[in-house]
Amino acid sequence: RYRRNKMAKVQITYFPFKGRQAAFVLLLEDQQIPYDYVPVEFANWREVKQKGLEDGTLPFGQIPQLKDGDLYLVQSSAIVRHLARKHGLYGKDSVEAAKCDMYEEGITDMRNDAMKLLFADITKAPEEIKKTVIPKHAPYFEAILKRGGTDYLVGD
């Protein structure tokens, strides 16, 4: 804990909802890693986006963004991976790291299928997700957990 407090805090910039920051905020909170949060008001977003595109701190004109010292990072998966690498949450070796990556892609596939429905019709989406997304993807993760035999997706 002493070493962690000596590290400069990372800074997160995003809209004031969970959205694409949820995964790495979950990581930071569960691991008790201190961070600063800078909310972006929707009214200010266009200006923030324009400035970020011009100075390169928002290379794709999107947030969330993580500032870690001089590093400005966007893309939520890239932020998760950076924090994972920094805090020993990427598996114990390259084989486990590969499994982390493999499962992350499968999770993203499931997320994309669910989000497609949510953006198409938010009222119908819960039923559609129950009928199609969960029955398709959940068995994959059930089997992964069954074969792994631990409380985690990868290793112990």
Binding site: A78, A97, M102, I144
Partner: protein, 216 residues
């Protein structure tokens, strides 16, 4: 080192970026093509024994490790062969640009398999102008022949593979982006890649394969 084994349909598609890395780096590998008629049985077996956890190929076998998901395979090979940037900051940039490339791919491929003529129109009119500008900006700020640092990373293989697929259907999309265009053609002029393309070993793209099919 024992050779890795790649299993996939005999198309570039999701395998292309992996093969591009292996060929450009001259890493030996074996390719085990899947016959379409045998796929349902293979998929079922793979789901049951866990070697195809999501019922999909490509799959990489490296010793006892069975890996699926093309980007997981690509990252594994990148880590193994020093193509993930020189430090954690560069690794983070590789990941960031990989996601941006995936966003471009997703936007471009949205209608690709269902309404190809419309997809090509969208790519030319909106998708590529939007995303191409991001990568032009990245290359301008970076000032090298690579997306990250001063040497090739897996992010470069992702971008070059995608640009190859997109310029095949819409050759002129790079014209408004001089740095991106120069980056792409410089990469494709690697003598190793030129020899590879001339060798006849290259798999067809989905677009090439589709054009060869009888009209449905």
């Amino acid at each position: 080192m024992a050779k890795v084994v790649l299993t996939y349909f005999p198309l570039k598609a999701r395998l292309g970026v992996i093969v591009l890395l292996l060929e450009d780096q001259q890493i030996p590998y074996e390719f085990d093509p899947v016959e379409r008629a045998k796929w349902p049985e293979m998929k079922q077996k793979g789901l049951e024994d866990g070697t195809l956890p999501f019922g999909q190929v490509p799959q990489l076998k490296d010793g006892d490790l069975y890996l699926v998901q093309s980007l997981a395979i690509l990252r594994y090979l990148a880590r193994k062969h020093g193509l993930y940037g020189k430090d954690t900051v560069d690794a983070a940039k590789c990941d960031m640009y990989a996601e941006g490339i995936t966003d471009l791919r997703n936007d471009a491929m949205k209608l690709f398999y269902s309404d190809l003529p419309k997809a090509i129109e969208d790519i030319k009119a909106t998708v590529f102008p939007k995303h191409g500008a991001y990568f032009e900006g990245i290359l301008k700020r970076g000032g090298t022949d690579y997306l990250v640092g001063n040497s090739v990373t897996f992010a470069d293989y992702m971008l070059v593979d995608l640009l190859e697929n997109l310029t095949e259907v819409a050759p002129e999309i790079l014209e408004p982006f001089p740095l991106l265009k120069a980056y792409y053609y410089l990469f494709q002029s690697h003598p190793i890649l030129v020899a590879y393309r001339a060798s006849g070993r290259e798999l067809p793209s989905w677009y090439t394969w589709k054009k060869s099919q009888p009209a449905s």
